[in-house]
Amino acid sequence: MEALWLSMKLAACVAAILLAIGVPVAYWLAYSTWRGKFLLESLVALPLVLPPTVLGFYALVAMGPRGPLGKLWIALFGHGLAFTFTGLILASVLYSFPFAVQPLIVSFEGVDRRLLDASAVLGAGTLRTFWRVILPLSLPGVVTAAVLSFAHTLGEFGVVLMVGGDLAGVTRTVSIDIYDRVQSLQYGEANRMALVLLAISFSVLSVVYAVNRRVWSPWPAK
């Protein structure tokens, strides 16, 4: 259960950070008219297609004392990033990035341009238009982004395996714990944890689809 709690904590941190970073990035990607935008879009989508072994391998090398990130971190805090909870958060943010940004882009792009024009004509600046028009209209996208990055981080395995070091209470997430139990042939224990994870993942995804299908909505109808 310690592992499950750790995974939840990790997933919550990652979802919060991804919303904070994802919203401005998605806003820029949705509204910029720069011709080279497709390059950035590809970069954002990369973790979708790269295997966790590639991300995990780069993360491990980058966090090491010879890597740029590791060097910086050691200079600042006196210890490396690998095998720490912070290291896991960082790797997971990278890994789940597209799961937060893609739904945000889609919903930002879906906002009716005429409303934006109207807002501008009425004298609202870019920031005000964003807070008062775009964001409220994109709430399903924001919920989807938060829930998907939470769920994706909860189910993360390969990257954590490669940079975590399997420390109980620090980096032993629920997926690693299940793997360890299967390895030690404790199939009963593994099964119990796997079922819990299955139930959580199913409920979380149900929320996403319910919100998008407007079966129910977490905010009052207008």
Partner: protein, 268 residues
């Protein structure tokens, strides 16, 4: 597109037939001249040379898959198509034999694993001189070992640390690799400053340059490594022949060269 000229329907109807031919050919080749071996990660380098020599001598093609012994064991319980299993822990082949999944009488303890404390060549501590005391040095912040819950080398590492009496003081420094290769990789990448790894990896080309100190064999339970021919082996004769080759003087010399010891003769 020129696709309009091709009769796709006809083509697709012929497809299963073509696939069947390919599969049959593949099956036949496999049955004639190939054995599949599942080998523990610590055999990575030794097994490569062993199978090369065997291929030249016998004409049988050897296909080796490396991985964690525990993983292989679960896969074999569920019918993985291997002919021969070289486990880092003899308990797994023993269990396969008990479950009736292996050829009776083929179980063989092919080697005894040795463990070393390993650091990169540029490490600040000199493990070759200081031995296990190097692990107590404050500059060694992380020590990588294989996961003692399921990896035999991890269990041996913990046992050795306990026997020398430093386990409690170094425990906060320990990080766990999924298998012995990953523990080595944690040290090689610089994320851990020292590791307890298999001798067979420490003498491999990538790690040969580092500093190492062998943990005496009397400090840990013997890492008995066992091999067995599987019941469902498609090529039992060739699998047995390979096992015989490993038992031969030439086979043992190769294993010794890559840092394995043998049951009759304790490691130095």
């Amino acid at each position: 597109m020129t696709g309009g000229k091709i009769n796709w329907h006809k083509w697709f109807r012929g497809l299963p037939f073509v696939i069947a031919i390919f599969l049959a050919r593949h099956e036949m080749q496999a049955q004639q001249k190939e054995i599949r071996i599942a080998a523990a990660a610590d055999l990575k380098f030794a097994m490569g040379e062993l199978s090369e020599t065997f291929e030249k001598q016998s004409g049988t093609k050897v296909n080796v898959t490396y991985g964690s012994s525990g993983n292989f064991f679960s896969q074999m319980q569920n019918g993985a198509p291997f002919d021969l299993f070289f486990s880092a822990d003899i308990a797994y082949p023993q269990k396969l034999e008990a479950d009736g999944l292996a050829e009776p009488g083929t179980l063989y303890e092919y080697a005894v694993g040795r463990i070393v404390i390993w650091t990169p060549a540029d490490a600040k501590v000199d493990v070759a001189k200081q031995g296990w005391k190097a692990l107590l040095d404050a500059r060694v912040e992380k020590i990588a070992i294989a996961n003692p819950e399921h990896a035999p080398y991890g269990r041996a590492a913990v046992a050795a640390l306990q026997k020398t009496g430093i386990y409690e003081s170094v425990k906060p420094k320990l990080v766990y690799g999924e298998n012995i290769s990953q523990a080595a990789q944690f040290v090689q990448s610089g994320n851990a400053q020292a590791g307890i790894v298999a001798m067979s990896l420490a003498v491999s080309p990538a790690m040969r340059e580092g500093k190492r100190w062998e943990i005496p064999a009397d400090l840990h339970p013997r890492i008995k490594q066992g091999a067995i021919v599987l019941k469902d082996a498609r090529n039992k004769e060739a699998a047995r022949a390979f096992l015989e080759f490993v038992k031969s003087a030439a086979g043992r010399a190769k294993l010794a060269e890559y840092g394995f010891a043998f049951p009759e003769k304790p490691a130095q």
